[in-house]
């Protein structure tokens, strides 16, 4: 099947004919040997079969010689190529074996060469004859195809022969021979130079074939088969043959392959990649974007957790490592264990119920006096042999988590911005829709149906929109509806804000009364109400937003914005309530502090009066009176909020999605309407709500992580569970959205929200750190005036004096202010340059567009001109047509030949000739038609028959020609 490629390669064949025959002869030699030996009946049979076939062919030889011109030539060439391939194969099998007696063999080859040559030629002729016999009445194209088919059969047989022939011999020769056969490995050093040369040429041909394969007029299947074969061949021998450049190329290819494999491996290592891909295929990329975002969050939380756990919690944990018996590490690194000092002990009053589940669930009791919260940490400056600066580390980790988060978010945003580039979606609305609306990641028929439907509806909508924008009559109604929707949403927000405010006030009242007098519902009212509102209000917004009639992508952004406002309002109401609570605690603290001094004094006085030299009375740490420790309280609140939030999410998932799906699925058999298609149906995945839930969850983590170091760990757990739970829920209980749309660019929207939330959540944390003095008897900063004093302290005591001096100079406002000024200037400069770049880009784009339009115009003109020419030519042709139809037939033939040459020969792009205006018309497209006409002897070239197709083909051909 490579014959067409070698239409012009006659020289090559002539040059290598001899060698080919030699190879062939070897093959035959072997066969002869085998037949004599009669070792394997199978092989001998096949050989005999071929012989018989050839005999039968000779009988029919005479019949087949009707048309023997080009076709025969080509087929013979093809045959030659095949032989060459066979010969190469034979050679590879033999290469090893031949190494010793190669020369003698060659001599033999020369002796027998002539006889073999004769027999070969005979065979070739036979083949040709057979081909032609088969295709007697067909047209020429079909002829060729059939010939190909025949040859394929033939080739297969030959291959078999070669294989079978090599088998017994290989068994004779020994094990290494077999190895060569199996692996197909060729050792170039074992080949003679001329064989190498040949192999190289074959390789080049294969490469050429691969390159030119696309333009061949073959059926697809054949093309694929050929391509695969040639690629295999090239791959097999390229490396072996390559020396110098080829070898380098081969190495490069291997390297590329390795890189590709490595990429695949890396992709396989990305956690949950397959899960997300599967979801993407079922639900489209917008749902998948949520899961990708979730995974990204997981990564960030992993690092936050690593920071807090490694630098804060582990040094403070003692009991865990005593279990591991790392006494050295204990001594080296650890702080004091539980129960050693008052802040690490549950007070006596709470001890009774400290292990109750209800208490632990509220993070009181043992959970409160553990490493999970701020209050447990000791203010000892350096602990263990390593002098680990615990308070400093605590502070720096708190700052570091926030700084790291900022960095990551901003970096990701910048990268996304780069990727998205500057695309204006407005200018080519319909072509964008036409060519880019399909989501190629969809792998599910149902989703594909949905997508199909949504594309059609989007087209309808776009057309309607276009019409409406021209008509411009309904715009007032739409505007009114949009305003109304926003008004309703605002009402809803105000209502929910008031409800939360009301609940918070009530809870403060409860707190003043004492929480023990109230029920569990009342105690957890704030969290419950916040979670419920956060769950139900978005649904209401969603319903309201159907009024607005936006594109789903825009609608998603509006929805996100609204939920954002809701959550933010809720969160800030909560924070304000917390601030009130902090103030209350601080008042309480003052009283307690005074009481403690009194208590200590009385203790001292009591002991002092009896015996001044007696050792001081040891008091169990549980009995020491405590301050209220507002930091732990804040941490507890956040942890409770997170827990209740997580719980509501999971419960909603189970009830709203799973239970609904189960009911719909199993009640459908005995219900009076179709539950699946109609009324309750299955739920859709709520992208906006879930994303915002995630973002706000993260915001709470950032806010509370300073006061509750356990928060990143908790969040990690939550994200991990929700990854699996939500993946499962999506796949098992949700249906794809009715309007599946691509989530293009919305990723940066999420990121922007995350950044805003990060900023908003660091504000209260920083505010509390800077303005409120830490509690006097708990936490790493107890006894200091402000929490950040720890840095100054470290600078003074742990660094050399010159360093602190430098630092004090550097922190001088005189130095800081100019620096800030410089930074602002730099930012301004960068901003303006980027703006100018953007403008330049837009201009370039416009230029390209203009150029395109110009080209289009040119093409149109050219096409028109070609049409004119054609018409003229046709007129003249019709004049001529009347006198001589025979002449016309000849002309047709000529044109056909030309076409053939054009297709089979070297020049791929025919230029439009001015002298023959009808040539391009007949060029590429109507080849089949011509062939049919040509083969048919009854064909009479009527002008009317041809005029129609010509008319059709004019534009396309002209376009091709001028492109």
């Amino acid at each position: 099947d490579i014959e067409l490629d070698f239409a012009g390669d006659e020289n090559f064949q002539e040059n290598h004919e001899r060698e080919k025959h030699k190879g062939k002869r070897r093959n035959d030699d072997r066969q002869k040997n085998k037949r004599e030996n009669q070792r394997r009946k199978r092989s001998s049979k096949s050989v005999q079969g071929i012989r018989e076939e050839s005999q039968s062919k000779t009988e029919r030889r005479g019949r087949g010689r009707r048309r023997r011109g080009k076709a025969e030539h080509e087929t013979s060439e093809h045959e030659g190529n095949e032989e060459k391939r066979d010969q190469i194969r034979a050679k590879t099998t033999k290469s090893k074996k031949n190494i010793k007696n190669e020369k003698t063999r060659k001599l033999e080859g020369k002796e027998d060469g002539e006889a073999q040559e004769r027999s070969e030629r005979g065979k070739l002729k036979l083949v040709c004859a057979k081909n032609e016999e088969k295709i007697e009445s067909g047209d020429q194209l079909k002829e060729k195809e059939k010939a190909l088919g025949v040859k394929k059969k033939k080739k297969k047989k030959r291959k078999k022969v070669v294989e079978t022939s090599s088998e017994p011999e290989s068994s004779e020769e020994g094990d290494d021979e077999e190895e060569v056969n199996d692996d197909g490995e060729v050792r170039p050093e074992l080949l003679s130079p001329e064989e190498l040369e040949k192999l190289k040429e074959a390789l080049d041909e294969k490469k050429k074939l691969i390159q030119s394969l696309r333009g061949k007029p073959w059926p697809m299947k054949q093309k694929l088969v050929t391509l695969r074969e040639s690629q295999l061949f090239v791959e097999k021998y390229e490396g072996a043959l390559g020396q110098g450049k080829g070898r380098k190329l081969y190495a490069y290819k291997k390297w590329m392959k390795f890189q590709r494999d490595f990429e695949n491996f890396k992709a396989a290592c990305i956690p949950w990649e397959m899960k997300i891909k599967e979801i993407e295929s079922h639900f489209g990329s917008s749902v998948a974007s949520y899961f990708i975002f979730l995974r990204w969050m997981y990564g960030i939380n992993m690092i936050l957790f690593g920071l807090t756990f490694g630098l804060v919690m582990v040094p403070e944990i003692y009991f865990m490592l005593t279990i591991l018996l790392f006494t050295f590490l204990e001594q080296a690194l650890m702080g004091r264990p539980y129960g050693s000092i008052p802040r690490k002990t549950v007070p006596r009053a709470e001890e009774a119920g400290a292990m109750d589940f209800a208490v632990l669930w509220d993070f009181g009791g043992y959970a409160q006096y553990s490493v999970l919260f701020y209050g447990y940490y000791n203010n000892q400056r350096a602990i263990g042999w390593f002098k680990f600066r615990m308070p400093l580390s605590y502070f720096l980790v708190g700052v570091g988590t926030v700084a790291y988060s900022y960095m990551v978010v901003i970096r990701t945003m910048a990268r996304n911005a780069n990727e998205s580039g500057i695309g204006d979606d407005n200018s080519f609305n319909f072509s964008w829709k036409m060519f880019t609306s399909w989501d190629y990641l969809i792998g599910n028929p149902e989703t594909a149906d949905n997508k199909f439907a949504s594309i059609t509806t989007s087209f309808k909508e776009a057309i309607l929109e276009e019409q409406e924008s021209q008509k411009d009559d309904n715009i007032h109604l739409t505007r009114f509806l949009r305003v109304l929707a926003n008004f309703l949403v605002l009402c809803c927000l105000a209502g929910s804000g008031y409800l939360i405010y009301f609940v918070v006030r009530r809870s403060q009242k409860f707190a003043l009364d004492g929480l023990e007098n109230h029920t569990w519902w009342e105690r957890n009212e704030v969290n419950m109400v916040m979670s419920l509102l956060g769950m139900f209000c978005p649904m209401l917004f969603d319903v309201i937003s159907t009024l607005e009639n936006y594109h789903p992508r825009v609608a998603l952004q509006w929805q996100l914005g609204r939920i954002f406002a809701l959550f933010l309002g809720n969160l800030y109401t909560f924070i304000i309530a917390l601030m009130d609570a902090i103030n209350l605690k601080r008042k309480e603290e003052k009283v307690v502090k005074y009481n403690i001094t009194m208590w200590e004094a009385s203790l001292y006085n009591g002991t002092g009066s009896e015996n001044s030299t007696a050792p001081p009375i040891t008091i169990h740490p549980a009995d020491v009176p405590r301050g209220p420790c507002w930091e732990t309280m804040v941490g507890q609140e956040f942890v409770r909020l997170i827990i209740s939030d997580t719980m509501t999410t999971y419960i909603t998932l189970l009830i709203g999605d799973f239970l609904r799906a189960v009911l719909v699925r199993f009640l459908n058999h005995c219900w009076c309407w179709d539950l699946e298609a109609g009324f309750p149906s299955y739920s859709e995945f709520d992208v906006s709500g879930n994303v915002l839930g995630l973002i706000f969850n993260q915001g709470m983590i950032w806010m509370g992580a300073f006061y509750a170091p356990c928060l990143p760990a908790l969040n990690l757990l939550r994200l991990h569970v929700s990854m699996y739970l939500q993946c499962w829920a999506v796949m098992c209980c949700n249906v794809p959205q009715e309007r599946v749309f691509k989530a293009s660019g919305s990723n940066n929207f999420y990121m922007a929200m995350l950044l805003v939330i990060l900023f908003l959540s660091t504000l209260p944390a920083i505010y509390t750190i800077v303005t409120i003095p830490p509690s006097f008897d708990c936490g790493p900063f107890s006894g200091k005036n402000r929490m950040f004093d720890v840095i100054q302290e470290t600078l003074e005591s742990d660094f050399p004096t010159w360093f602190s001096k430098v630092f004090s100079y550097a922190s001088n406002p005189g130095l800081v202010l100019p620096f800030i000024l410089l930074m602002v200037l730099a930012i301004y400069y960068l901003q303006s340059t980027s703006k100018s770049y953007k403008e330049a880009n837009v201009e370039l784009k416009n230029k390209i567009q203009m150029q395109n339009e110009e080209n289009k115009k040119k093409n149109k003109q050219a096409a028109l001109k070609a049409q004119m020419d054609l018409e003229e030519a046709r007129k003249s042709a019709s004049q001529r047509n009347n006198d001589a139809s025979v002449q016309r037939r000849e002309e047709d033939e000529k044109i056909y030949n030309k076409n053939q040459r054009m297709y089979h020969g070297r020049n791929p792009s025919p230029s439009v000739g001015d002298r023959e205006p009808h040539f391009p018309v007949r060029g590429p497209a109507p080849r089949n038609c011509h062939n049919g006409n040509h083969g048919n002897p009854r064909y009479l070239p009527g002008f009317h028959q041809q005029s129609e197709p010509r008319m059709y083909r004019v534009p396309s051909v002209a376009f091709l020609g001028f492109k």
Partner: protein, 259 residues
């Protein structure tokens, strides 16, 4: 004791449900509550009431005016699940394109769809209409005669469809049905279709139109269509008759035979 604030937090959910499913609530009210109320007050069945209205408000012998009267009554007074004007137009179009000679209608109810089909049939065509319920059939008969169609054009058969279909060939000398309209019990769509196939009443090119395949819905029917491969089919999406917001569809099948 649940606190009132928590109860208040459920208000958005309630609002959401009400707004989202308002059409279903309206439908429930009109089709069930009003019907029960009127049944108690008048002592007549719904179909009889509809017939009374049509009798007094339409021109005898004019199918269009009868249909209009029906539509008016069903939109503004009570609800009867006829095919309705919107889907009716699609049905008209299909009938005009196909111009069938033998038509089978499953489920005449009170004759609305029978009149609708009969008025666009070509000359010499014959419509067999099957209705299971005696009372409904009596009213349908009256409506059909009121519209001016005689026994030659429309034949009303009072029997369940699964009994009639096997006897169609023997009792009514039917060889092949050109057009079948299904609007009876949604659960019978699939078995009846299979019966039609089984008794060889469908030829290549016969068209079957099934109403209400999405709401109330015939999931088994649709599943069967997807699976069997005997039909070329599509669903005309529309809304439920006399209601704006409930989506419904009408399936159009063309029998292709076994390939």
């Amino acid at each position: 004791m649940v606190s009132p604030a928590i109860a208040l937090a459920f208000v958005p959910l309630l609002l959401t449900l009400i707004i989202k499913y308002r059409y279903y609530f309206v439908l429930f009210y009109r089709a069930v509550l009003v019907r029960i109320w009127k049944d108690c007050v008048t002592g007549l069945s719904r179909e009889e009431r509809a017939f009374q209205y049509v009798l007094t408000n339409s021109t005898p012998g004019d199918p269009d005016s009868i249909l209009d009267a029906f539509d008016y009554w069903c939109t503004n007074v009570e609800f009867i699940s006829n095919i309705g004007p919107k889907k009716g137009k699609i049905l008209d179009r299909l009938l005009l394109e196909q111009s069938p000679l033998t038509v089978l209608e499953l489920g005449a109810h009170c004759g609305y769809s029978t009149v609708r089909i009969a008025r666009v049939l070509p000359l010499g065509a014959r419509l067999y209409s099957i209705e299971m319920d005696q009372g409904n059939a009596a009213i349908a008969e009256k409506i059909i005669r009121l519209a001016g169609f005689d026994d030659d054009t429309v034949e009303l058969i009072v029997n369940p469809s699964d009994e009639v279909i096997p006897r169609l060939r023997s009792d009514y000398n039917l060889e092949r049905l050109d057009f079948v309209f299904m609007d009876h019990w949604k659960k019978c769509y699939q078995p009846d279709l299979q019966l039609l196939e089984e008794y060889g009443l469908l030829g290549k090119g016969s068209m079957i139109v099934a109403d209400n395949v999405l709401f109330p819905g015939a999931p088994k029917f649709l599943r069967y269509l997807r699976k069997c491969g005997l039909y070329e089919w599509k669903i005309h999406r529309a809304t439920l008759e006399y209601s704006k917001g409930i989506r419904d569809g009408m399936a159009e099948l063309i029998y292709q035979g076994i390939k």
